[in-house]
């Protein structure tokens, strides 16, 4: 059998990681965590996570940057806020998941995974039209999500179309998306490196 | 002599507001003690003067404080109904209202004179009150008032 070494040397940890997370809105309270596991237990999807929310917070505090940024957990988070409401220390775990997602997108090669791709496709479309067109989003997503699941969507798309809930030709658009683009550009001007966007689409087009 | 030296030292340093605080022995002074015991840090601009009851505070104390160079005066007493001497703080309340009006007539902004009910376990409240007042005064700048 293969033996796995589970020691972690201080040199392998990122001492600044916790501060960086704590510095983001919603991240402040990580220091209050008492590792009680309420977040993990109330989470509807924690049983599918590689690191439970409690471990995420614990590992963020300890500086396990690589493990956390490469974890699947944040991408499984449905942002239902159950953890945030239940946490006895009022830690905004959902917000922390967002912080980690953003860092992962910038700092880790997480794009093997489909969810971030969908998120970016979404963002790209909104930047372009100011609004989301579900049909188009759906096609992008389907294209990315592999043939099987794409085929799986066909009957549903067909039914939606028959029910008049899927209008393939119509594109949702603001009267002048430029006004929005200007505003978003202004945000970028305020900071050195613009965030990476660009579409790597995949499954069904429903906005959350 | 020594005193004069001290003054000049203070004035040459970057300006900091001076707050004279009259605290009643039972609630607000106790809150200050609690702040100490629980290491609740607050702006050192505030200097405490202890009296047994906020009701002891003669308006002339406040005027004298301003005249001799205070930029702000803070009075701390027990919450209404909690006075150690039955109703001393109600008398303080009435006096403070008149005094505050009078001070404004004399051209002293109302932010410079505050009456706060701070209970014996209200260390945090004390901290926020003092820090806020210090900030307000920094914004208002020095008070140069020669008295009536």
């Amino acid at each position: 059998m293969r033996l796995v070494k589970t020691v972690k040397y201080e040199a392998d940890l990122d001492a600044t990681f916790a501060e960086r997370v704590a510095a983001q809105p919603g991240g402040e309270r990580i220091w209050d965590c008492i590792q009680c596991g309420t977040c993990s237990a109330i989470c509807p999807v924690s049983l599918y996570m590689d690191l439970t929310p409690r471990r995420i917070v614990g590992m963020v505090r300890a500086g396990f940057r690589d493990e956390v940024l490469n974890a699947v957990s944040p991408w499984i988070c449905t942002s239902c806020y159950a953890c945030t409401v239940e946490c006895p220390e009022k830690i905004r775990i959902t917000d922390i998941m967002y912080v980690i997602k953003r860092m992962a997108m910038k700092e880790s090669g997480h794009h093997r995974f489909v969810v971030p791709a969908i998120e970016e496709a979404f963002v790209a479309m909104v930047r372009k039209n100011g609004r989301l067109t579900e049909s188009r989003m759906g096609i992008k997503v389907a294209a990315k999500s592999g043939l099987r699941s794409a085929l799986g969507m066909v009957p549903i798309a067909w039914k939606l179309w028959r029910k008049g809930r899927l209008r393939l030709l119509r594109v949702e658009r603001m009267q002048n998306p430029e006004s929005l683009r200007g505003v978003l550009a202004a945000v970028e001007d305020r900071r050195p490196a613009p965030p990476r966007t660009g579409s790597r689409g995949s499954p069904a087009g429903v906005k959350a | 002599m020594a005193l004069a030296v001290e003054k000049s030292e203070a004035s040459t340093a970057s300006w900091e507001p001076r707050i004279v605080a009259f605290f009643c022995n039972w609630c607000t002074y106790a809150a200050a003690d609690l702040a100490g015991i629980s290491r609740v840090k607050y702006s050192p601009n505030m200097r405490m003067v202890r009296v047994m009851c906020s009701g002891r505070i003669d308006p002339s104390f406040v005027l004298e404080a301003f005249r001799s160079g205070a930029d702000g005066v803070l009075i701390g007493g027990c919450n209404p109904g909690d006075c150690h001497y039955k109703e001393g703080n109600y008398k303080t309340m009435r006096r403070a209202m008149l005094l505050s009006q009078m001070l404004q007539d004399l051209g002293i902004e109302k932010e410079r004179f505050r009456l706060e009910w701070i209970c014996a376990s209200c260390a945090r409240e004390l901290q926020t009150t003092v820090n806020k007042m210090a900030d307000d005064l920094r914004r208002l700048g020095p008070l140069d008032w020669k008295g009536v």
């Binding site: 599918y48 969908i118 100011g130 929005l180 | -």
Partner: protein, 292 residues
């Protein structure tokens, strides 16, 4: 009657169109006018926060600012996703001064001042708090007798802000159901996530959550699930056939919007309420309704 600004959001222009149709119909009938916010943009949803928090917030804030400019009336945001995105932006801007600065700066460019004056409301609140149970009861001409309803709240209108109702023991949907003359059934998970966020990305997980919910509603012998969110409605409705096959359980149950339920009770026909656009049309005991 009080008037409101209206933020439809993208979903209600797409698969969620039955929600918009029924909402507008019901509000019209109650004499409430909804004015669409001029040139509104996507609320940013959860996706934007995952990519770029500042932009996500600015995106939502732009709509709030537009509303202020329009006349500062309350915004009605029917889509749970939009409701939360807008509420959250408002809360975060109020809490974090530097975020506020970014927003002011960005919107300032477009000559859009933001003050944080407007309230973000969910139609449920408007119906039960502003219109009030009494007026609603009066408007009910066809009580949905013997119609068993499984109220489903979803997440966003309860958590994290609890503005619409208590996160632990919500009751507004039950109240509305009773007002409509129908019977709310009690079942677990009525405020548990439906998995809709995941049926796109991690389908297996999303479908499992949907399955648990449908199962619970079915075993509570509900005739329909009543939802408040286009994503939940979509997620609970469109995958039913697939789930029946994969789980060998009968999970077929109509999933409708609370506005459609109320509309029916108010005697509107199924076309007006776009009930014919649902995959499964609820079967009402009371004949007057007819069926699509």
């Amino acid at each position: 009657m009080k008037d409101y600004l209206y933020f439809p959001g993208c979903s209600l222009k797409g698969a969620g169109s039955p929600y918009e149709k029924s909402l507008l119909a019901v509000f019209r009938a109650l004499g409430i006018s909804l004015t669409e916010i001029p040139d509104w943009n996507c609320c940013g949803a959860t996706a934007y926060l995952s990519v770029d928090a500042d932009m996500g917030t600015v995106l939502a804030a732009r709509n709030l600012a537009l509303a202020e400019r329009a006349d500062g009336r309350d915004i009605v945001a029917p889509c749970s996703g939009c409701f939360l995105a807008l509420s959250k932006a408002k809360a975060m801007i109020a809490e974090y001064p530097d975020l506020r600065a970014k927003v002011d700066d960005a919107l300032g460019r477009g000559g859009l001042p933001y003050e944080g004056r407007v309230a973000v409301r969910h139609p449920l609140e408007v119906l039960l708090k502003d219109v009030g149970p009494d007026r609603l009861r009066k408007s009910v001409v066809r009580p949905l007798k013997d119609f068993r309803v499984a109220p489903y709240y979803g997440c966003a209108i309860l958590r994290p802000y609890e503005t619409v109702d208590s996160a632990h023991v919500p009751t507004v949907l039950e109240e509305l159901t009773r007002i409509a003359g129908a019977t709310p059934v009690d079942y677990p998970h009525k405020a548990r996530c439906c998995g809709g966020m995941l049926t796109t990305g991690v389908q297996s997980v999303g479908l499992r959550l949907a399955e648990i919910l449908l199962d619970a509603a079915k075993s509570a012998e509900a005739d329909a699930i009543v939802t408040t969110c286009p994503l939940c409605q979509y997620n609970l409705e469109v995958y039913q056939d697939r789930l029946c096959r994969s789980t060998r359980k009968d999970l077929r149950i109509p999933v409708m919007y609370f506005t459609q339920m109320l509309g029916l009770a108010m005697g509107m026909d199924e076309r007006t309420l776009a009930i014919d656009q649902l995959f499964r049309v609820p079967v009402l005991a009371c004949p007057a309704g007819g069926r699509a």
